[in-house]
């Protein structure tokens, strides 16, 4: 089985989000980048397929050279090789088109992506890829088993979960549940040394359009100060929630 894991390179979750150039661009000053947390869960699940079922494991990112440390980290965790599509990931559709091309060329059986990336939260790349290359698709995937060509997958639904069956080739939008937090791997020294020697291929993007454009950013309105209520005066809290906030 040939597996491709799509890796998004995103600001660390502790980052303060700021903008520059008249709020038209994200300000990356002082921001640390990491593997998108959802992608880390799918990558760890992919490692299981590699170790237990002999799958090959390639990771891919659409981005400029600054995302290479993130790809190297994925190699240090255990991926066999990496591909970087040398382009600015301008919108979800553009990224999906680039990845669809990589998948067609590489003939991957199973493509694992995160449910959404924690920068633009589009949640659209996996579904768009599936539609572009006609792969089966399971979103918000929290469990996956593959036997030969047959796949059983679990997806999260509002208020529960659902089990579906399908076949390869398949793409999933995955998240925690595929593996747990404690299963995530921190690259060790040996992994990091080996990662330096693993192939990281840079390919040029295909010519394609974007369908959306980012115009500007806004920050949430600053909120008014928190009203403190004495713990011996819970009637006041109830009255505030009922009369002022009108939520109960």
């Amino acid at each position: 089985m040939k597996i491709l894991v799509c890796i998004s390179h995103v600001p660390d979750t502790t980052s303060k989000i700021n903008f520059k150039d008249d709020n038209s661009k994200f300000d990356s000053t002082g921001v640390q980048y990491v593997i998108n947390p959802h992608d880390e869960f799918v990558l760890t699940r992919a490692m299981w397929f590699k170790e237990k079922q002999g799958a090959s494991l390639t990771v891919v990112n659409v981005g400029d050279a600054s995302s290479e440390p993130t790809l190297r980290k994925a190699l240090a965790i255990g991926a066999d090789d990496a591909i970087r599509v040398n382009a600015e990931p301008t919108d979800g559709f553009y990224v999906a088109k680039q990845l669809a091309e990589v998948i067609k060329n590489g003939g991957y059986d199973l493509v694992l992506a995160g449910r959404e990336s924690l920068d633009y939260n589009g949640g659209m790349v996996p579904g768009m890829i599936a539609s572009l290359i006609d792969y089966n698709f399971v979103n918000a995937c929290i469990g996956i088993d593959v036997e030969e060509n047959q796949v059983t997958a679990t997806r999260e639904i509002d208020g529960g979960k659902e089990v579906v069956s399908t076949e390869l080739p398949l793409i999933i939008g995955g998240q925690k549940g595929l593996v747990e937090d404690k299963d995530l791997r921190i690259p060790n020294m040996r992994g990091i040394m080996m990662a330096r020697k693993k192939p990281l291929q840079v390919v040029e993007p295909i010519d394609t359009n974007t369908t959306t454009a980012s115009i500007s950013f806004d920050k949430p309105e600053p909120r008014s100060a928190c009203k403190m209520v004495d713990s011996d005066n819970l009637d006041e809290l109830i009255s505030l929630l009922h009369n002022e906030a009108k939520v109960i």
Binding site: K16, D119, M124, S131, N139, K161, A213, I215, M228, S231
Partner: protein, 321 residues
């Protein structure tokens, strides 16, 4: 031209999100000076949609579509959009909606703006505000294509009553075997519990509760309020609560009307996911807990003392309503 809204249902019944996307669709149709068409699949009774401005309703009845199937639903929406000449398609952000909306976008060669929180700020160019960076910010996104798909963030627009006369029409889409390559096997749903996605009120507990066995006070408070229960990430990592209750940047997003955080410090990753809730109440022993800075109402106190008393008071309050 027209605006097509997909109004989802659960076992034949509409939930609030169906009325919200319809209300929103009606306003978008007014802004673009076109008509609203609402598409339903296997809904029992569509008449309620007329209260929110559904001038025309397309009704699909098809046993093959009894269980949600992203590809099949995306095909139905595409065919409905083509039939109605719809250039704007609006879908909710439920687990089903966000699953199949990207497929609809590719089907219609449309740009897709997910997690939209407002009406378009302009029609030409078509610009819409959407959540980004896990609600730490918003992005104003232009959709450049002539066809457009909008994913409306839950509870961002609300319901707007707007009674109209409705014209109902049966619609029979053409489905192929290929649409069903992902097949439904089984479902597991917590019965008698409100889900975080559907809840108007969410009661959430953190590590301050010290053990999973102490969750009784959270559940009782949630019960009186008709609320869903949720938790911080370490609580689910420790196995005190199921992962499905983990909220925050890496868990489920919450955009309820009221979010009550008990024994939760308010780490940036937690706040990111719950920020878009309208009103936040924090109960914490530590007056310096960062969550107070992001809250509307705060109580400094011990959860084991405050929460049971609050539950009793709320019971009285509810009884007198």
């Amino acid at each position: 031209m027209s605006v097509l809204v997909f109004a989802d249902n659960s076992e034949g019944k509409f939930k609030k999100n169906a009325f919200e996307v319809t209300s929103y669709g009606k306003k978008v149709a007014e802004m673009t000076q076109t008509n609203l068409v609402v598409l339903t699949i296997n809904a029992d009774n569509v008449s309620e949609l007329a209260n929110y401005g559904a001038e025309k309703i397309l009704k699909v009845s098809n046993d093959q579509l009894k269980d949600f199937n992203a590809k099949a639903y995306a095909d139905v929406v595409k065919q409905a959009a083509e039939k109605e000449g719809a250039d704007i398609v609006i879908i909710d952000s439920s687990s089903n909606g966000s699953y199949f909306a990207p497929l609809v976008a590719v089907n219609l060669e449309a740009g897709y703006a997910s997690n939209a929180v407002e009406l378009p700020s302009s029609i030409s160019p078509f610009v819409i505000k959407r959540k980004a960076f896990s609600s730490k910010a918003f992005n104003n996104t232009e959709i450049k294509t002539s066809n457009k798909v909008i994913g409306l963030s839950k509870n961002s627009f609300g319901l707007v009553e707007n009674s109209v006369n409705t014209n109902e029409e049966d619609f029979t889409p053409t489905l192929s075997d290929d649409d069903f390559n992902v097949t439904f096997k089984s479902v597991e749903k917590a019965t008698g519990k409100v889900s975080i996605a559907d809840a108007d009120i969410v009661v959430s507990g953190g590590r301050g509760l010290k053990s999973g066995e102490n969750w009784g006070i959270i559940e009782e408070l949630a019960d009186v309020l008709g609320a869903a229960t949720a938790c911080s990430k370490p609580v689910s990592d420790l196995g005190w609560r199921p992962h499905s209750e983990h909220v925050g940047q890496t868990g489920k997003p919450v955009s309820s009307n009221l979010y009550i955080a008990i024994g939760i410090s308010g780490a940036i990753q937690h706040l990111a996911g719950v920020n878009s809730s309208k009103v936040k109440v924090v109960i914490n022993t530590d007056p310096e807990a960062p969550f107070f800075k992001a809250a509307d109402y705060g109580i400094v106190g011990d959860a084991f003392d405050v929460v049971p008393r609050l539950t009793e008071k709320l019971k009285e309050f509810k009884a007198n309503q």
